[in-house]
C-alpha cells in the first residue's frame, strides 16, 4: 500500500518528538532512584528486575540511563536554543548592518570555528565553574558559528531578492522589513539548524563530561556513565557501557532523523514530494 510520503514524514517527526519528550520527562522523575546506591544488588547482569543491569554501587542502570538521556536532552535543548539565538542575532546583524559589522562578525565566526570545538568547550566550561551551567555555557558558546554563517548567507541572499528591494524602495522601515519579510524566510532554515544542533550538543556534553571537565560524577549523565564503565570493561561488566552507549546513539539518531524530516517538510523544493 502506498502512503503519502508527507504523512509518513510527519508521523515520524511526531513519533520522535513524543519519544524524546517522554524520555526528558521520565528522566526528570527518575533522578532520585537513579542516584540511589543499594549495595545489596551490586554488579547484577541484565535481568528482569534490572533490564540494563546494575553497577558496582548497586544503582539501576536503566534508571541512570534514562535520567542521563533526559539530562542530555534538556541540556541539549537549552544549548541549542541559546546558540540558535546567538546565531540568529549575529547572522542578521552581520548581513544587515553594513560591511564593517559584517567583517567583524565574520572574523569572530572564523575565530571560534578555528579553535577545536572540544577544547573551547572545556575552556569555557572550566571558566564558568564546571557543573551543569559550565557545560551549557560551553556548548552554547561554541555551537553558534556555523548556524550564524548560514543565517548570514541567507540574509545576504534575501537582500538581493527583487521583492525585498522593491519593499525597501517603497520606504518600509528596516525593522519592519526584518520582522515581516526577512524572518519568515529565515525561520525554516533556523528551525532545521536548531534541531540538528541537538545531537551535536548532546554528544559534546557527553564528551566533555567523559573527559572529566563537565558534570559532576554523582549526576546520572551519559558521559559520566560511559566514563565509569570504562574501568569495568576488563572485569567483564559489558552491560555498563553497552546499553547506555546504544541509547545515546539512538537518541542522537532520532534527533538527526527528526531534523532531516523537518527540513524536507519546510523546504519549499521538497515539501510536496
Amino acid at each position: 500500500m502506498r502512503t503519502n510520503r508527507r504523512a509518513d514524514t510527519l508521523f515520524l517527526l511526531i513519533f520522535a518528538g513524543i519519544f524524546l519528550s517522554a524520555i526528558a520527562l521520565a528522566g526528570g522523575l527518575l533522578t532520585e532512584p537513579a542516584g540511589a546506591a543499594d549495595f545489596t544488588r551490586k554488579n547484577l547482569p541484565p535481568c528482569l528486575a534490572h533490564p540494563f543491569g546494575t553497577d558496582w554501587m548497586g544503582r539501576d542502570m536503566l534508571a541512570r540511563t534514562v535520567a542521563g538521556l533526559s539530562l542530555s536532552i534538556r541540556v541539549g535543548g537549552l544549548t541549542a536554543l541559546l546558540s540558535g539565538g546567538i546565531a540568529l542575532l549575529l547572522g542578521t546583524v552581520s548581513a544587515a548592518c553594513g560591511p564593517r559589522v559584517d567583517a567583524l562578525v565574520s572574523w569572530v565566526i572564523d575565530l571560534v570555528l578555528g579553535i577545536p570545538h572540544i577544547l573551547l568547550i572545556i575552556l569555557v566550561s572550566l571558566a564558568c565553574g564546571r557543573g551543569v551551567w559550565g557545560v551549557i555555557a560551553g556548548v552554547a558558546l561554541t555551537h553558534w558559528p556555523s548556524l550564524a554563517r548560514l543565517v548570514r548567507g541567507e540574509v545576504l541572499q534575501l537582500k538581493q531578492a527583487t521583492f525585498l528591494r522593491a519593499v525597501r524602495r517603497l520606504g518600509v522601515s528596516r525593522g519592519r522589513v526584518l520582522r515581516t519579510h526577512l524572518l519568515p524566510h529565515l525561520l525554516p532554515q533556523l528551525f532545521t539548524g536548531l534541531i540538528l544542533q541537538f545531537p551535536h550538543a548532546i554528544l559534546h556534553e557527553a564528551g566533555v563530561t567523559f573527559l572529566g571537565f563537565g558534570l559532576s560524577p554523582e549526576r546520572p549523565a551519559i558521559g559520566v556513565i560511559l566514563e565509569e564503565s570504562m574501568g569495568y570493561l576488563a572485569a567483564g561488566r559489558w552491560w555498563l557501557a553497552l546499553f547506555p552507549g546504544l541509547s545515546l546513539v539512538l537518541v542522537v539518531m532520532l534527533f538527526a532523523v527528526a531534523g532531516e524530516r523537518l527540513r524536507l517538510l519546510l523546504a519549499p523544493a521538497s515539501a510536496q514530494e
Binding site: 558496582w56 564546571r130 573527559l211 559532576s216 570504562m230 574501568g231
Partner: protein, 515 residues
Amino acid sequence: MKKTIPILLAFLLLTSCGKGSESGFSPEPGHSGLLTVVLPATSEPAAGFDPAFGWGAGEHVHEPLIQSTLTVTNPDLTIGYDLATAMEVSGDGLIWTVKIRDDVKFTDGEPLTARDVAFTYNTVKNTSSVNDFTMLDRAEAVDDYTVAFRMTRPFSIWPYTMAVVGILPEHAYDPAAYGSNPVGSGRYMLKRWDRGQQVILEYNPDYYGPQPRMEQVTILFMEEDAAFLAVQAGQADLAYTSAAYSDQSVDGFSLLSVQTVDNRGINLPVWNNELTSDPLVRHAINLGLDRQRMIDNVLNGYGTPAYSVCDGLPWWYAVTAETSDDPEQAKVVLDTAGWLAGPDGVRVKDGVRAALTIHYTAGDSVRQGLAAELANQLKELGIGADIKGVGWDTAYDDALSNPLVWGWGAHTPMELYNIYHTAPGSDSALYSPYANQAVDELMDAALACTDLEESYALWQQAQEEIAGDVPWVWLVNVDHLYWVRDGLAVAEQKIHPHGHGWSIVNNVDQWSWEM
C-alpha cells in the same frame, strides 16, 4: 581518552608478545632472579629518582631502593638502621649525632661518607617541596663517618624523617640530570627508564647488605584495567589491582591482600557547620557506623575497620577501637542531644534539619562508594545525607564547612600533628575546623621529648584527648590487592602506608621464586 590508551597498549602487548617471551620484555615465568611488576601509572615519579625532588618521600612514602637511607622502619614500624650504626640526641633535643657504616660505596665506586649525608640533608632542606624540613637548621660532617644535625626546634621523631631521605653522592650530583641518571648506594641501580612505560632496576653487586635475590626488576606503569589485562596475558608476575577486580580469577595467579594503614575517613567541622558543630552529633556518627558492612559493600571485604589515622602503628591509641559501631546507642545519643525525628524521618533540632552533604573527590570510585554507603548508614540514624563529587581544586575549601572523604596513613606520627594540631599562625587545624589546646600541648611535648618510646605515649595521650572531640571519623583501612604469579614468594610486608604504589617493592630484594 586517558583510560582507553592503556587498554589499546595492553591489546598491542597481547598480540605482539604472543610468539614467545624471549622476544618480549617480560622474563620467562618463574625465571630465577627476574621479575616484572605492574604499578599504577601515577606511581611513575615525574621528577625522576631524586630524593631532593620527592623520590621516596612525600604523601606516598616508600624505600628509595636506589639510594640508602640512614634509618629504616621495621615491620612493626619501630626504627631500625640502614646506613646508621648508632644515633643519639642531645639533652635539649637540638643536636642529633648519627654514626654511619664505613664500608659503603656508591655504584660509581666512590665511598659514601658523612659529607655526602650532610650534603644530602642540606640539599633536601633547600629544594624539597614535598617534605617539611623547617625543623632542620643544618647538617654537618663531624668526621668521615659521623654526621651532626643541628635542629631549629626539638623534633623527637627525626628518625622517621631519616627513614625516607635517600643519600645523594656529593661528587656526582647535578640537580638537572640526577633524576633520570641516579647514582646511589642502595640495593638496585637504575638500568633503564622509558618514560610513561617502564623502569628496569638491576641489582647492585657491591651492595653492603645481603645480596638481593631478585637480580632484575622491571616495573611497568599501567592503569588498573590495563594491569588486569597484562595479568591475564601472563605479562606480569605481580600487578596491583583493586576490589573491583577481586571477584575475578586468573589461571596461574592468586590474589594477595596486604594490610594497610591506607585509611579513609571524613572530617566533621567543629564549627562552620550547624550539624557537626554539636559534639554529641559527632560522637553519634562515630558510634553509629557499621564499618564492617561498609567494607563488605564497598571493598568486597578487603579492608579493616579504621578507628584512627594510625591504626596498628606504635603511636596508636588503641582504645579508640573499643567504643565504636553501635547504631542503637548512637540513636539514643542523638535523642538525648535533642535531635528528634521530624516528619520525613530526618531529625530536627531548633528548626535545624540534621542534614549534611558528604563531599568526595571525583574520579575516585572507592571514595565515591564510601560516601554513598556512609550516606545510606547516616539515613538509618535519622541524619539526611547526600553526596557530591568535587575536584581537588575546591575540595580543601569545601572541607572547611562540609565533611570530605579523605585518605591518609603515613609511617610517621607527624601525620597526627598535621591533621589535629593547630596550624601555625591560625586558630584552627589545617584541614578541618578544630582546635584543642590540650592536644596542641601534648603534641608539642611529644616532639620535644628526647626519647622516642616516651614520645609514643604522649602521642597516645593526645589521641585520647582528641577522642573526646571527634573532629574526624575514621571509616576503613583499604587493603592493597595484588595479582601474584604462582611460585613467586613475596616477602613479608610491613603495614602499607597511603598510596597503592611503590610500597609493595620495598623489600623486593628478598622475594624469590619457589621452584
